[in-house]
Chain length 397, copies 2
Amino acid sequence: MASSSYGADWARWSNVELMSTERAHAHTPSSVFDRFHGVIPAGGTGTRLWPLSRAAAPKFLHDLTGSGSTLIRATYDRLRPLCGDRIMVVTGKVHRRAVLKQLPEIKDSNLVLESEPKDSGAAIGLAAAILFKRDPDIIMGSFAADQVIAPAEVFQAAVREAIHTAAEGYIVTIGIRPTHPSTGFGYIRAGDPLLIEGAPSAHSVVEFVEKPSVGVAREYLDSGKYSWNAGMFVAPVALMLKHLEANEPLLYAGLTEIAEAWDTPSRVEVARRVWPSLPKTAIDYAVAEPAAAAGDVAMIPGDFSWDDVGDFAAIGRLNPAMENSELTVMGEGARVFSENASGIVVSDTKRVIALIGIDDVVIVDTPDALLVTTKEHAQEVKKAVEALRASGDIDVL
Amino acid sequence: MASSSYGADWARWSNVELMSTERAHAHTPSSVFDRFHGVIPAGGTGTRLWPLSRAAAPKFLHDLTGSGSTLIRATYDRLRPLCGDRIMVVTGKVHRRAVLKQLPEIKDSNLVLESEPKDSGAAIGLAAAILFKRDPDIIMGSFAADQVIAPAEVFQAAVREAIHTAAEGYIVTIGIRPTHPSTGFGYIRAGDPLLIEGAPSAHSVVEFVEKPSVGVAREYLDSGKYSWNAGMFVAPVALMLKHLEANEPLLYAGLTEIAEAWDTPSRVEVARRVWPSLPKTAIDYAVAEPAAAAGDVAMIPGDFSWDDVGDFAAIGRLNPAMENSELTVMGEGARVFSENASGIVVSDTKRVIALIGIDDVVIVDTPDALLVTTKEHAQEVKKAVEALRASGDIDVL
């Protein structure tokens, strides 16, 4: 992550973080970590990464960093040192086979399959309800399947602080240090430091704020009080459900009904009956924002590099360029010839691709669809997907 | 063809051409046209049009104008009103099946198949020798298979003048009126008008000149004395062979040996034995230039639009852009979505192609190779082909 100006608080946080966490880890009874369970919501089709990412093969099923791991596998591996195989995945029914191929070790009872998308409130809420039914003392940590994070150790240190903080009765979000005045993310406004053993960098959260204008985003950046909301939560399941019940009683009731049946023979029958009736809402509205207003939310600054791979320009950031060229090429067996060309080529075929005299281009070559755009216009790929859907060309979406 | 400044001679030529030719046609005995035979050399792979045009499917086998006809079929149809089925095609042996598919009516004896390329001297020379053997009074007209000409009637009027002129003992080239100071073509410098009945626009030719620098090309354009050499010749076969014998006696001897055997049972045996031994040379060096020096060459100005489809920028000129867009799309069943994009898309697949925020782009999408460049760099496509050949990627050439 490129260094940029950030406030005094951020500087202080990063200086103490690793050291303090190590100390904390050594002094804390291991039981608090034993309560920790990972949850990986794996949803969204990543339309800005079309035609690579699409309904049948969403972003989290791709290796977008050239590491050899798909994003969901990397997310799972990043959590394992914290919770072993106590990891639950919530994804679409259509992705069952693909997810099992990536995570062959996952138990059936820890793979929650949605028959239809119901947004993050239902997805994360159901995980919380199932875990609560198993053990009401569980602390869950929810981390999206399609984010790129490094180094894993710094991430894990932040999660350990978050677990300590959650054990004190907080819904803890891990804030991402902003590197530029992004208008594409929501922000978290930190308040005072919390004095929690094992979590020296924990702060209270004053509020979550929606995606800002660029001017406001610049103010946020300069103040040093704001971090990006990456949707990472560590919280006692009981506290999650308390806020869910208060804000979305119908959703809470439905999720509890499914959770009661989950580890019984009637799991499939109840889920099939109840899930379609659930209201659609984001976990931010259902839990995080009202919890923040109630003073129940804390924040641990995450001083790791983080990318949500929001468009193809990110592919360029996350992958090295070719030797003697400003061209980044992704794809096994890609056959690219370039002359005076720069940009990004994602090859999902074995075709020869020749680029001549073209700069900052983005080319995504798949068997049934080809995208040609520029880094500058990478965000507009969503429009193409919408237009194709409108025109009935859904075979390639 | 865009109007541009051209000299006084050109203006005079175009004014009289059509009218005079009609008059000439009415007053001339029909026998001079009965002597006329068409020859279509169909060679070259058109590497600047890779990956659409390639060794196995060269330029002349494609419909590059969206007319529904391949270039070779259009060339054949343009000649038919002049000579019916008295048309000979010279092409590579590997293209036999594809050419017969385009020209199913062609007789075996009029399809000359080269076992290996020997340049235009041997190709056009062999046609001349075979026709001479059949009838020494034949006037041949040689027209490359991969040029785009319109309207056909104006072309045919020029050829009729050329036939009249050839009947007076000239090798007649049809000069193309230059529309810009091209450095990519050779030029023909015209001399005095020739007073030939039925060919009021016939001029003597002072010399052929090689591709000029841009400054020289501009002088040529301004002088009004120069036209582009499109390699179109109309000439008595006897005169062609006289110059060929004088300049390339070995080539002449070999071609005559094949021609003697052509309409006999030993055609295949003799051609197979002699052809590989023939020297490689262009018809320009073997016949046209020395004939011009001897005062035996005349020129008819061709006031039709002409394009040799030298690169993908030409595809843009020859095909209309999409409605509400500056994008030209070629290819049956092309599925192109574009947003703020301009340029040329040639689709040889059924894939969806999405273009977003990119200008003057050239995209050629074929099953095994993809080219992405710009109109400005279209001429450099040849480099890609050379680099692919050098790297051993010959499967896509």
